[in-house]
Amino acid sequence: MKFIAEINIMPLKALLDPQGKAVKQTLHNIDFKTVENVRIGKHISLEIDADNKQQATEKVDDICKKVLSNPVMEYYEFTILE
Protein backbone atom coordinates (compact mmCIF):
# COMPACT_ATOMS: atom_id res chain seq x y z
CA MET A 1 0.00 0.00 0.00
CA LYS A 2 1.09 3.51 -0.65
CA PHE A 3 1.16 6.01 2.21
CA ILE A 4 2.04 9.69 2.35
CA ALA A 5 3.98 11.02 5.30
CA GLU A 6 3.71 14.73 6.06
CA ILE A 7 6.71 15.53 8.24
CA ASN A 8 7.52 18.69 10.18
CA ILE A 9 11.05 19.26 11.43
CA MET A 10 11.44 22.16 13.83
CA PRO A 11 14.34 23.73 15.73
CA LEU A 12 14.37 22.64 19.39
CA LYS A 13 12.39 25.02 21.57
CA ALA A 14 15.42 25.66 23.76
CA LEU A 15 17.38 27.07 20.79
CA LEU A 16 17.21 30.57 19.44
CA ASP A 17 15.70 30.48 15.95
CA PRO A 18 17.29 33.47 14.20
CA GLN A 19 15.14 33.06 11.06
CA GLY A 20 11.95 33.10 13.11
CA LYS A 21 13.22 36.07 15.09
CA ALA A 22 13.98 38.05 11.90
CA VAL A 23 10.55 37.28 10.41
CA LYS A 24 8.81 38.27 13.66
CA GLN A 25 10.68 41.58 13.65
CA THR A 26 9.61 42.26 10.06
CA LEU A 27 5.98 41.42 10.87
CA HIS A 28 6.11 43.91 13.74
CA ASN A 29 7.64 46.52 11.46
CA ILE A 30 4.73 46.26 9.04
CA ASP A 31 2.17 46.53 11.82
CA PHE A 32 1.38 42.88 12.47
CA LYS A 33 2.25 43.65 16.07
CA THR A 34 0.04 40.97 17.56
CA VAL A 35 2.36 38.20 16.34
CA GLU A 36 4.04 36.95 19.48
CA ASN A 37 6.34 34.25 18.23
CA VAL A 38 7.59 32.81 14.92
CA ARG A 39 9.55 29.62 14.50
CA ILE A 40 10.71 28.32 11.14
CA GLY A 41 11.37 24.70 10.28
CA LYS A 42 11.03 22.34 7.33
CA HIS A 43 8.13 20.44 5.89
CA ILE A 44 8.91 17.21 4.06
CA SER A 45 6.33 15.14 2.24
CA LEU A 46 7.26 11.60 1.22
CA GLU A 47 5.49 8.68 -0.39
CA ILE A 48 6.26 5.27 1.01
CA ASP A 49 5.20 1.71 0.33
CA ALA A 50 4.27 -0.37 3.37
CA ASP A 51 1.98 -3.29 4.27
CA ASN A 52 -0.06 -1.23 6.70
CA LYS A 53 -0.20 2.09 8.51
CA GLN A 54 1.75 0.88 11.51
CA GLN A 55 4.61 -0.35 9.36
CA ALA A 56 4.62 2.96 7.47
CA THR A 57 4.74 4.84 10.78
CA GLU A 58 7.69 2.78 12.00
CA LYS A 59 9.61 3.27 8.74
CA VAL A 60 9.01 7.01 8.66
CA ASP A 61 10.04 7.34 12.31
CA ASP A 62 13.29 5.51 11.51
CA ILE A 63 13.92 7.75 8.48
CA CYS A 64 13.30 10.89 10.56
CA LYS A 65 15.65 9.67 13.28
CA LYS A 66 18.47 8.52 10.99
CA VAL A 67 18.39 11.07 8.17
CA LEU A 68 15.84 13.85 8.17
CA SER A 69 16.47 15.38 11.60
CA ASN A 70 19.42 16.01 13.87
CA PRO A 71 18.33 15.54 17.50
CA VAL A 72 21.01 17.94 18.75
CA MET A 73 19.11 20.84 17.18
CA GLU A 74 15.75 19.61 15.89
CA TYR A 75 12.64 17.61 16.74
CA TYR A 76 10.14 16.10 14.31
CA GLU A 77 6.50 15.14 14.13
CA PHE A 78 4.53 13.57 11.30
CA THR A 79 1.18 12.32 10.16
CA ILE A 80 0.61 9.34 7.86
CA LEU A 81 -2.11 9.55 5.22
CA GLU A 82 -3.36 6.67 3.09
Binding site: L15, P18, Q19, V67, N70, V72, M73
Partner: protein
Amino acid sequence: MKFGVVIFPGSNCDQDMVYVLKNIMKQDVVELWHKSTDLQNVDAIAIPGGFSYGDYLRSGALAKFSPIMKSVIDFANRGGLVFGICNGFQILCESGLLPGTLLHNDNQKFICKNIYIKVENNETVFTSLISKNRVLKIPIAHGEGKYYADKETIKEMRLNNQILFRYCNSDGEVTTEANPNGSIENIAGICNKNKNVFGMMPHPERASDENLKNIDGKIIFESMINTILSKI
Protein backbone atom coordinates in the same frame (compact mmCIF):
# COMPACT_ATOMS: atom_id res chain seq x y z
CA MET B 1 53.45 11.46 5.21
CA LYS B 2 50.44 10.74 3.02
CA PHE B 3 47.25 12.80 3.28
CA GLY B 4 43.90 12.03 1.71
CA VAL B 5 41.59 14.91 0.83
CA VAL B 6 37.94 13.88 0.49
CA ILE B 7 36.01 15.44 -2.38
CA PHE B 8 32.21 15.57 -2.47
CA PRO B 9 30.09 17.18 -5.17
CA GLY B 10 29.96 20.75 -3.86
CA SER B 11 33.30 20.71 -2.03
CA ASN B 12 35.09 23.94 -2.92
CA CYS B 13 38.11 24.17 -0.63
CA ASP B 14 39.49 20.78 -1.67
CA GLN B 15 42.09 22.13 -4.09
CA ASP B 16 43.26 24.76 -1.57
CA MET B 17 43.82 21.91 0.89
CA VAL B 18 45.62 19.77 -1.70
CA TYR B 19 47.79 22.76 -2.69
CA VAL B 20 48.81 23.58 0.87
CA LEU B 21 49.57 19.99 1.86
CA LYS B 22 51.44 19.21 -1.37
CA ASN B 23 53.16 22.47 -2.37
CA ILE B 24 53.66 24.22 0.96
CA MET B 25 53.94 21.36 3.43
CA LYS B 26 55.67 19.07 0.87
CA GLN B 27 53.64 15.96 1.72
CA ASP B 28 52.10 13.25 -0.45
CA VAL B 29 48.44 13.90 -1.18
CA VAL B 30 45.74 11.80 -2.80
CA GLU B 31 42.22 12.89 -3.63
CA LEU B 32 39.47 10.65 -2.27
CA TRP B 33 36.30 10.80 -4.37
CA HIS B 34 33.02 10.48 -2.45
CA LYS B 35 31.90 7.39 -4.38
CA SER B 36 35.05 5.45 -3.54
CA THR B 37 35.59 3.42 -0.38
CA ASP B 38 39.36 3.03 -0.84
CA LEU B 39 41.42 5.23 1.49
CA GLN B 40 44.65 4.38 -0.40
CA ASN B 41 46.68 3.79 2.76
CA VAL B 42 46.75 7.42 3.84
CA ASP B 43 48.12 8.48 7.24
CA ALA B 44 45.57 11.26 7.74
CA ILE B 45 42.34 12.42 6.14
CA ALA B 46 41.21 15.99 5.50
CA ILE B 47 37.54 16.81 4.96
CA PRO B 48 37.59 20.19 3.22
CA GLY B 49 35.15 23.09 3.19
CA GLY B 50 32.40 23.78 0.71
CA PHE B 51 28.79 22.80 0.35
CA SER B 52 28.75 19.01 0.08
CA TYR B 53 25.66 17.81 -1.80
CA GLY B 54 24.52 21.44 -1.84
CA ASP B 55 24.17 21.28 1.95
CA TYR B 56 20.65 20.04 1.22
CA LEU B 57 18.58 18.96 4.23
CA ARG B 58 21.28 20.17 6.69
CA SER B 59 24.96 21.00 6.29
CA GLY B 60 26.83 17.72 6.12
CA ALA B 61 23.70 15.58 6.51
CA LEU B 62 23.88 13.85 3.12
CA ALA B 63 27.69 13.64 2.97
CA LYS B 64 27.56 11.49 6.09
CA PHE B 65 25.95 8.65 4.09
CA SER B 66 28.41 8.69 1.16
CA PRO B 67 30.52 5.57 0.49
CA ILE B 68 33.81 7.32 1.35
CA MET B 69 32.47 8.45 4.74
CA LYS B 70 31.79 4.86 5.74
CA SER B 71 35.52 4.18 5.28
CA VAL B 72 36.47 7.48 6.97
CA ILE B 73 34.32 6.63 10.01
CA ASP B 74 35.92 3.15 10.25
CA PHE B 75 39.38 4.74 9.88
CA ALA B 76 38.62 7.25 12.67
CA ASN B 77 37.19 4.55 14.93
CA ARG B 78 40.45 2.60 14.52
CA GLY B 79 42.38 5.67 15.71
CA GLY B 80 43.19 7.21 12.30
CA LEU B 81 43.69 10.97 12.12
CA VAL B 82 40.79 12.88 10.56
CA PHE B 83 40.34 16.64 10.46
CA GLY B 84 37.54 18.70 9.00
CA ILE B 85 37.54 22.37 8.07
CA CYS B 86 34.30 24.36 7.87
CA ASN B 87 31.87 22.10 5.96
CA GLY B 88 34.25 19.28 6.91
CA PHE B 89 33.65 20.14 10.58
CA GLN B 90 29.89 20.10 9.97
CA ILE B 91 30.18 16.67 8.29
CA LEU B 92 32.19 15.25 11.21
CA CYS B 93 29.54 16.47 13.66
CA GLU B 94 26.72 15.02 11.54
CA SER B 95 28.63 11.73 11.30
CA GLY B 96 28.83 11.49 15.07
CA LEU B 97 32.66 11.57 15.03
CA LEU B 98 32.54 14.90 16.87
CA PRO B 99 29.99 16.04 19.48
CA GLY B 100 27.51 18.88 18.95
CA THR B 101 26.48 20.65 15.78
CA LEU B 102 26.79 23.91 13.84
CA LEU B 103 23.79 26.24 13.70
CA HIS B 104 23.00 29.32 11.61
CA ASN B 105 25.13 32.29 12.63
CA ASP B 106 23.34 34.44 15.19
CA ASN B 107 23.05 37.34 12.74
CA GLN B 108 21.73 35.12 9.89
CA LYS B 109 24.51 36.37 7.60
CA PHE B 110 27.22 34.55 5.72
CA ILE B 111 30.42 35.89 7.29
CA CYS B 112 33.68 36.00 5.33
CA LYS B 113 36.50 37.74 7.15
CA ASN B 114 39.66 37.30 9.19
CA ILE B 115 39.07 36.49 12.84
CA TYR B 116 41.36 35.62 15.74
CA ILE B 117 41.56 32.36 17.64
CA LYS B 118 43.70 31.05 20.46
CA VAL B 119 44.55 27.54 21.42
CA GLU B 120 43.02 26.06 24.56
CA ASN B 121 44.66 22.66 24.54
CA ASN B 122 48.07 22.45 22.86
CA GLU B 123 48.74 18.86 23.82
CA THR B 124 47.06 17.31 20.79
CA VAL B 125 48.40 16.14 17.44
CA PHE B 126 46.71 19.12 15.79
CA THR B 127 47.93 21.86 18.12
CA SER B 128 51.23 20.60 19.57
CA LEU B 129 53.42 23.43 18.20
CA ILE B 130 51.11 26.33 19.10
CA SER B 131 52.08 28.18 22.24
CA LYS B 132 49.25 29.03 24.64
CA ASN B 133 49.63 32.79 24.37
CA ARG B 134 49.80 32.89 20.59
CA VAL B 135 46.89 34.50 18.73
CA LEU B 136 46.24 33.17 15.23
CA LYS B 137 44.62 35.29 12.53
CA ILE B 138 42.65 32.94 10.26
CA PRO B 139 39.69 33.63 7.93
CA ILE B 140 36.20 32.25 8.40
CA ALA B 141 33.67 31.88 5.57
CA HIS B 142 30.39 30.38 6.71
CA GLY B 143 26.68 30.90 7.21
CA GLU B 144 26.28 28.06 9.69
CA GLY B 145 29.20 28.19 12.07
CA LYS B 146 27.61 28.70 15.47
CA TYR B 147 28.90 25.78 17.47
CA TYR B 148 26.29 24.29 19.77
CA ALA B 149 26.08 21.36 22.15
CA ASP B 150 23.97 20.89 25.27
CA LYS B 151 25.37 21.83 28.70
CA GLU B 152 26.15 18.27 29.68
CA THR B 153 28.18 17.70 26.49
CA ILE B 154 30.09 20.97 26.89
CA LYS B 155 30.91 20.05 30.49
CA GLU B 156 32.23 16.67 29.39
CA MET B 157 34.26 18.26 26.57
CA ARG B 158 35.81 20.69 29.04
CA LEU B 159 36.76 17.85 31.39
CA ASN B 160 38.34 15.89 28.52
CA ASN B 161 40.15 18.96 27.13
CA GLN B 162 38.33 18.61 23.81
CA ILE B 163 37.95 22.34 23.20
CA LEU B 164 40.98 23.20 21.07
CA PHE B 165 40.30 26.74 19.81
CA ARG B 166 38.21 29.69 20.94
CA TYR B 167 37.46 32.95 19.11
CA CYS B 168 39.26 35.88 20.71
CA ASN B 169 40.24 39.47 19.92
CA SER B 170 43.64 40.47 18.55
CA ASP B 171 44.96 40.67 22.12
CA GLY B 172 43.95 37.08 22.81
CA GLU B 173 41.00 37.95 25.06
CA VAL B 174 38.02 35.62 24.68
CA THR B 175 35.12 38.10 24.62
CA THR B 176 31.54 38.18 23.37
CA GLU B 177 32.49 40.88 20.83
CA ALA B 178 35.20 38.62 19.40
CA ASN B 179 32.70 35.82 18.79
CA PRO B 180 31.73 36.19 15.11
CA ASN B 181 28.81 33.75 14.96
CA GLY B 182 27.42 33.23 18.46
CA SER B 183 29.23 29.93 19.10
CA ILE B 184 28.69 28.64 22.61
CA GLU B 185 31.67 29.62 24.81
CA ASN B 186 33.38 31.12 21.72
CA ILE B 187 34.22 27.61 20.49
CA ALA B 188 35.99 27.61 17.10
CA GLY B 189 37.49 24.11 17.06
CA ILE B 190 37.12 20.85 18.97
CA CYS B 191 38.32 17.25 18.96
CA ASN B 192 36.82 13.92 19.98
CA LYS B 193 37.54 12.13 23.26
CA ASN B 194 40.33 10.06 21.72
CA LYS B 195 41.95 13.22 20.26
CA ASN B 196 42.28 11.75 16.75
CA VAL B 197 39.37 13.60 15.11
CA PHE B 198 39.41 17.38 14.91
CA GLY B 199 37.17 20.02 13.39
CA MET B 200 37.32 23.80 13.13
CA MET B 201 35.28 26.47 11.35
CA PRO B 202 38.16 28.85 10.43
CA HIS B 203 40.20 27.99 7.31
CA PRO B 204 43.90 27.38 8.08
CA GLU B 205 44.45 26.33 4.45
CA ARG B 206 43.57 29.89 3.42
CA ALA B 207 46.27 31.23 5.71
CA SER B 208 49.28 29.10 4.84
CA ASP B 209 50.80 30.64 1.70
CA GLU B 210 53.28 33.54 1.85
CA ASN B 211 51.65 35.02 -1.25
CA LEU B 212 48.51 35.65 0.77
CA LYS B 213 50.48 37.61 3.39
CA ASN B 214 49.19 35.48 6.22
CA ILE B 215 50.64 32.13 7.25
CA ASP B 216 49.13 31.84 10.73
CA GLY B 217 47.22 28.70 9.72
CA LYS B 218 50.33 26.81 8.70
CA ILE B 219 51.24 25.91 12.28
CA ILE B 220 48.24 23.58 12.48
CA PHE B 221 49.54 21.51 9.56
CA GLU B 222 53.07 21.72 10.95
CA SER B 223 51.85 20.42 14.31
CA MET B 224 50.16 17.46 12.68
CA ILE B 225 53.09 16.54 10.45
CA ASN B 226 55.64 17.06 13.22
CA THR B 227 53.78 14.83 15.69
CA ILE B 228 53.21 12.06 13.20
CA LEU B 229 56.71 12.05 11.75
CA SER B 230 58.18 11.94 15.25
CA LYS B 231 56.19 8.78 15.93
CA ILE B 232 57.30 6.97 12.78
